[in-house]
Amino acid sequence: MSHEKKPFTVSGAVRSARDSMLEDFARLALAVTTTNAWRKVNAAVMKPTLIVSAVVKEKRDEAMADVLEKLNMPSRQEVTNVAQRLTRIEMALDDIGAGLDQLRKQSAAPRPQLSNGHGHDRPVKEA
């Protein structure tokens, strides 16, 4: 079995060098990001960011609620409550719809035939 050697090209050499560099970087990045030190740094950066975000969000919501109240408009919380209530109504309607579907199917199903108790159908009396 013979292995054909690929002819040398500049682009091939560049690509090969790039790939091996990326592989080294990948190994290095993985070695760094899986350490506890990295996680600690991430947590240290994240904590103040989240605290500031939460405070800003709270203050913004309060200010917005004030403005909306003065404009006689519903606040974000009120709109959220309405949306949640609508979902619950949607669920109730879905259950009612399903119940009606079942009733419709039951009423459309053929009724059991009357029997005279001896395995024969009772003859229908004609008027």
């Binding site: 690509r15 790039r18 790939d19 990326l22 970087f25 990948a26 990045a29 993985l30 990001t33 899986t34 996680r39 600690k40 991430n42 947590a43 994240m46 904590k47 989240l50 605290i51 975000s53 939460a54 969000k57 974000r76 709109v79 959220t80 949306a83 949640q84 979902t87 949607e90 669920m91 879905d94 259950d95 399903a98 579907d101």
Partner: protein, 354 residues
């Protein structure tokens, strides 16, 4: 003459490469294109039924459920590379439950809401619309987690015949083997503070966390692969579709995310038998449907240890573990899926859909 032809060929190639680069940089690929009909909706969730392309050969319909934090279009990525298209071509009545994109009003939605309010109602509609009593459920990633909870608590009552789990994150007993578990440890990650700041878990943060599991591959490697194949329309098209899907994540409802971190990642409550959803204890031994558990051997997001011991906990008598090559998404949407994973799943499904 030959030099002139070479020059023309080179210019043509450059022009194709420039066109392709412009396309992937400025447009989104059309994904999730298989014709379908919306049959039912609830809040943001929609139940779709795909238009059959051939005579229906299996009486049991299949319902696909994907994760909450990415779009379900991965099930139907693009013509020629779509699991939905494949199922339709094999004569399955194929349905999809799409969770939609949650808003601030959905921050209180927990896993129980999705598993016990949305999913049972979608199943009820599917059964009534299709006129069937039994069905197959296929869950992928968190969709598999929701499907497992649902199947344990409601599966038998609702007529669940088959359950297919793909890359299911269910067992957290080996946190040292799960990179995301280390990232979300209590001392490094304050889940309540995140939710206090954002309400829902922001899509960008989820995306960042997932990509940081393999930073160079995700942030650089993909683009290097594209660069190498810029003159190959097939590769560019496939890359573009996957890139469009990957870069379109959606937020995870706050309460569901909190449960995921606290009850699953940190508490491993499902496998310990102590998980309570809406007050109901999730007992895996009550899951009696036929089960196929599919694991990606190279999955770094949900490594094999997260579900390989699941089957022994289930009450099912017909259960099978299937290991396939590929990663978390690649096992179903990669170029080898159509010849590897899909036929194996279909062969099991066909034998259980009579």
């Amino acid at each position: 003459m030959a030099t002139e032809e070479k020059a023309t060929g080179f210019i043509d190639r450059l022009s194709i490469m420039a066109d392709n680069l412009l396309k992937v940089a400025t447009t989104k690929a059309p994904i999730g294109q298989t014709p379908r009909q919306a049959i039912w909706t609830l809040n943001k969730a929609t139940l779709y039924r795909y238009t059959p392309v051939t005579e229906q050969k299996h009486p049991v319909p299949i319902l696909l459920v994907f994760a909450l934090m990415n779009k379900s279009s991965i099930m139907d990525l693009r013509p020629g590379n779509s699991f939905v298209e494949y199922l339709l071509s094999k004569g399955y009545d194929t349905w999809l439950l799409d969770w939609g994109t949650p808003g601030p009003e959905d921050a209180q939605n927990g896993l129980g809401d999705y598993a016990l309010e949305y999913l049972p109602r979608a199943v009820r509609k599917l059964k009534s619309y299709a006129g069937v009593e039994t069905f197959t459920l296929l869950g992928w990633c968190i969709g598999a987690m929701l499907s497992t909870i649902y199947s344990s608590l409601r599966g038998e009552r609702d007529g669940l015949q088959n359950l297919i789990l793909l890359t299911a994150p269910l067992d957290f007993s080996k946190p040292e083997a799960i990179s995301l578990a280390a990232m979300t440890e209590e001392r490094y990650f304050d889940v309540d503070r995140v939710l206090q700041a954002y309400g829902n878990m922001p899509a960008g943060l989820i995306d960042y966390g997932a990509k940081m599991l393999k930073p160079v591959e995700n942030f650089v490697g993909g683009y290097a692969r594209l660069l190498d194949n810029l003159d190959n329309p097939k590769v560019v098209e496939s890359w573009h579709a996957m890139n469009t899907w990957v870069n379109d994540p959606i937020p995870l409802p706050g309460a569901a995310f909190r449960q995921f971190i606290v009850d699953f990642y940190r508490g491993n409550k499902l496998m310990k038998g102590s998980l309570r959803v809406r007050g109901e204890l999730v007992d895996l031994s009550k899951l009696t449907a036929n089960v196929l558990n599919v694991i990606g051997e190279d999955d770094h997001i949900t490594p094999p240890c997260q579900s390989e011991n699941l089957l022994e906990k289930l009450g099912s008598t017909d259960k099978q573990l299937l290991r396939v090559p590929g990663g978390h998404i690649g096992l179903m949407a990669g170029s080898a899926a159509a010849k590897g994973t899909w036929p194996k799943i279909e062969s099991w499904l066909s034998a259980h859909s009579g």
